[in-house]
Structure formats: structure tokens, C-alpha cells
Symmetry: C2
Subunit: 148 residues, 2 copies
């Protein structure tokens, strides 16, 4: 972790009036390091030194503040990812595509992808969309291809 990113995390906590504690900084650097969402069990594994309860509280706090977002994978397990690294305050779009690999179970947040307009049946007033795709991610897809 560079000096720069470290400072970024501290600024992020400041911005949300959260104290800059070791566990919180660790969670931030952990989640920021990956371009895929991380499941709660995985987080617990990596952060074995942080108390399980503390982790729950940190994740909830971050989610409430809009620092991270939660997405459930195919098994109903909560996965967490930094709220669209490029999701600035002014331009907060919840329209993600989440790609859940059926092989490695990773959840990719493909924020850049546009979700096309859809016309819902009469009466429904949507305020947000989330699209899930399942299938093989590039990594697993490559492995399958090699095996052939």
C-alpha cells in the first residue's frame, strides 16, 4: 500500500466522521486491493486478527455511509466491494452489473456497464436496477479453454 492510498483511506474515514482505526484501515485496504467483491467468510479468514463482531460492525457502518456496498451471491452470502471506485459523491449510480462466476464464485462489479432502459409493467415505479449475470469469469473461462 502506497503512502498515497493510505492517505486516501484516512481521508475517506475523515469525510464520514469515522475514526481512523487499524481495523477499519485494514478493511479498506483489503477491499480496495481487489476488483471483485469479497465474501464475508473470506474477509473473516483474511482478517483473523480482527474480532468477528468488529468486522460486522465495520461493514455495517461502511455500508450505511455508502463507502462500500453489499451484494448477495448465488448462495445468499453477503459480498462486499468498495462503492464503485469511481462513484463520486455527485454521481452516485447504483446501477451495477454483478457477475457471479459459477466456478470460482467471485463476484465482479462491472460498474462501467450501462444497463439499458426497460419498460416495466404499468404501475411499477423503479428507483434502481441491479443486474446479475452468472457464468464463467475470464480467469476460469481460460482454464476451461486450456483443459480442452
Amino acid at each position: 500500500m502506497t503512502q498515497h492510498t493510505a492517505h486516501k483511506f484516512e481521508a475517506l474515514l475523515d469525510k464520514h466522521h469515522l475514526k481512523k482505526t487499524a481495523p477499519r484501515l485494514k478493511v479498506l485496504s483489503m477491499l480496495s486491493a481487489k476488483n471483485v467483491a469479497t465474501s464475508q467468510p473470506d474477509l473473516e479468514g483474511v482478517m483473523a486478527d480482527i474480532d468477528r463482531v468488529t468486522l460486522y460492525r465495520i461493514l455495517n457502518a461502511f455500508e450505511e455511509k455508502g463507502i462500500i456496498h453489499k451484494v448477495f451471491d448465488l448462495n445468499g452470502t453477503a459480498n462486499y466491494a468498495m462503492c464503485s471506485s469511481n462513484c463520486e459523491e455527485n454521481h452516485h449510480h447504483d446501477e451495477h452489473l454483478h457477475f457471479n462466476c459459477t466456478s470460482c464464485n467471485n463476484v465482479y462489479c462491472l460498474d462501467e456497464l450501462e444497463i439499458p432502459d426497460l419498460h416495466l409493467p404499468k404501475g411499477f415505479k423503479p428507483d434502481g436496477f441491479t443486474l446479475y449475470a452468472t457464468g464463467l469469469c475470464p480467469k476460469c473461462n481460460k482454464v476451461v479453454a486450456k483443459a480442452r
Copy 2:
């Protein structure tokens, strides 16, 4: 429940080599009666006479057989719905739009809606899509409108 639908449920169980037991028929009629998915907690409430464990096993069995499908709502709670009433064996499409009302929390399965094509980043090989929309369902939307 009409004679006709009752027979339909029994046929459905037969087809999947499941015994026609009272709890199973009850679950089927319960889920078929609604056009929205039902959460596990709600199911437990309505089926208080059926053992909790039995309900788990019935739902799992039905899901494995493809009789019902499971969808997680915004809170990560499992909701169940009949597998697209019109989802015949030959034409099984997993592409649903699930509409999760933020007011009543109901999950509507809008199976008829087509999900438009999307081009994923290179390398991703999707095999299924599920689209979630959140917002107000027609019923709650009407209530809000009235309140104004």
C-alpha cells in the same frame, strides 16, 4: 383451491417422483396463490403447523427439482416463487426480472419481461441473467399517490 389446481399440484409432484404429502401440497398451493415471491419467514408464519425443518427440506427439494426458484431480496432473505408458471420443461428461461418493492418488500417475478442483450467485457462467458429492480410496486405506489 379448485379440483383442477389440486390435481395439477399432485401431477406436479408425481412428475418429479415426490410423494403427495399434505405439507408439500400446502406449500404448492400457498406459492401458487400469489404472483409474488414469498419470503421464508412469511412461509413459516403461514405454515405454522408444518415443522420448520420440514419446510426447509420441502423448499430445497422443490428447488432442486426446478419446481420453484429462490431469489434473495434486498435483505438477503430467501424468497420463493413457483418456477414461472409458464416455464415449461422445454422452454426453461432463467432470465427473470425481480422487482423488490422498497415499501412492502414484496418480490414480484416479472417473467414476461425480456432482458435486452448486453455486451460484457471481454472474457466473461455469461450463462444466465437476473435483473433486480427496486422501487414501488403498483399497490404501494397507489397508496403513496393517494396520500398526496
